[in-house]
Subunit: 328 residues, 2 copies
Amino acid sequence: MGGDRGPRCIVSAARRSLSLYPSLHITLVGAADCVEPLLTPADLASGRIVLRPAREQILADDPPASVLRGKRDASMRVALQLVRDAEVDGCLSAGNTGALMVLARSVLGTLDGVRRPAIMAALPVSGKLCHVLDLGANVDCPAEQLFEFALMGSAAAAQLSGNSAPRVALLNIGSETHKGNRQVRDAAALLASCAQLNYIGHIEGDGLFRGEADVVVCDGFVGNVLLKASEGLAGYLQAELRAAVAGSRLLRWLAPLVLHATRAVRERHDPARYNGASLLGLRGVVMKSHGAADEAAMVAAIGHTMRACEVRLPERIAGCVQEYRAAL
Amino acid sequence: MGGDRGPRCIVSAARRSLSLYPSLHITLVGAADCVEPLLTPADLASGRIVLRPAREQILADDPPASVLRGKRDASMRVALQLVRDAEVDGCLSAGNTGALMVLARSVLGTLDGVRRPAIMAALPVSGKLCHVLDLGANVDCPAEQLFEFALMGSAAAAQLSGNSAPRVALLNIGSETHKGNRQVRDAAALLASCAQLNYIGHIEGDGLFRGEADVVVCDGFVGNVLLKASEGLAGYLQAELRAAVAGSRLLRWLAPLVLHATRAVRERHDPARYNGASLLGLRGVVMKSHGAADEAAMVAAIGHTMRACEVRLPERIAGCVQEYRAAL
């Protein structure tokens, strides 16, 4: 059990989720001496929350390559083994993303026909969700890999959002076909010739936030910069507005009214609601929570993990990839 | 004379700039039949605003490669020739960015020791400016090119902001040295060994908006996505807030008070104030305005062009690059 806020936050979120979802069972994987004292007799009596002890932990600065060799009893590895052994339906981690990806590939393996898994998250834009991948698992992506991301992202978005033909776009620096680097231009050609996808062409960073696509494909370097910059800018603008409120006697006085009137907007963009990025292309459901997630954000991520298990996301993606290969 | 709003907006901005800056002289380059009717007898009598006719125009969708061969009398080319022939000190265009870059390289040439020019803009973060380059001129950048961007960006930021040792950072998807693609890792090694720069290491998208660096270096694909996504997100959040205000009787009533109290914040982030991206590495001052710039934004871009001319930006960058080559 990782995450910046430690096991106490995770146990509270687990308890809250059990009360929200009657069919849910949770296995906590972590150091027994840390987690056990946090569980109440009622938790244990319910039979819906159990502890699977693991003596080691992957740290935030453990290089992904080294976690493959060492720490055989790391909680992250044990949790993934529970998925592999079908003891649980899915795994959620708030730990080191790079380590989670390499361990998941090693323990679970990738789906047939998938070269590299990708990380996908949903951003709230214009009253709906925009699914963006890859967000950092793959820094240099040839065209075929970008194309695979599109297949996986489209299949996942269809399952998770109930939209059977999500609009798929390729992130680029201009809408014209001659724009972009070679990988993007070549991927565009592959996408344009794929009848299975609702491919709508190139999209730019501003188009993404105008809700012009349901799935946006990019390499992990670009996607990660986009995600972090968006988080940074939204946080910065919020801080500026807070400072303006604090600096004005009038606004300080009006703040409760303004907060009340803007509640719907703020809730629609509450980062906690969108916590939970899917690792797609693996033989099992693996979800990544933001390391800094609080209880509400962790509850949201647990809900997203449940949903991915319910729709059997890996099987759906495998089916979509096979359908494409069969049509070649 | 390009730009989405046509010559009328540019002529108004020119007139307003002449009244703001007593030392300014402006040569308008464009179609005589469009521009002449917009000039008043007072404009012409002042001698500070003149028209240099050009019969052709580069269009927004002209591929950059084709503008090199055709349209010998395009206003963009003529304006750059005026810089080359020292008839003016600098050129500002609101036209096709790709065309401006290839024409500027062809007409003016690059500075000694500079492989490729880059586009740099200043973003307002945490009460100061963060200079980001490249923003789209170069989509695939080897490490040496990223290093050159750092040299040019640092020299330019020092001149434009008066900070003699601007903090230079490399945009990456993690702060650890093993993160990122090969180009970024190799560029980091070059930067770390350069005594001439105040290099502070990797920066992520969120760190940029926390004001952790004065100059942020990235390839043009990543920079363009970052810039457009930031514009898109800021616009989207603004629209959401406007909708919240419109949807609440209370907020509609309070709007004038809230607008008054938040004026300083809004002015600090007014996109118009930051209009004007520098094309660095050329033998002359070339500035790019946003195509959609209104009069205020165009006035700001004219001011930035003047400032780049006053500090002799190309000579300063050339000096900085030569100093580095001499120390090798």
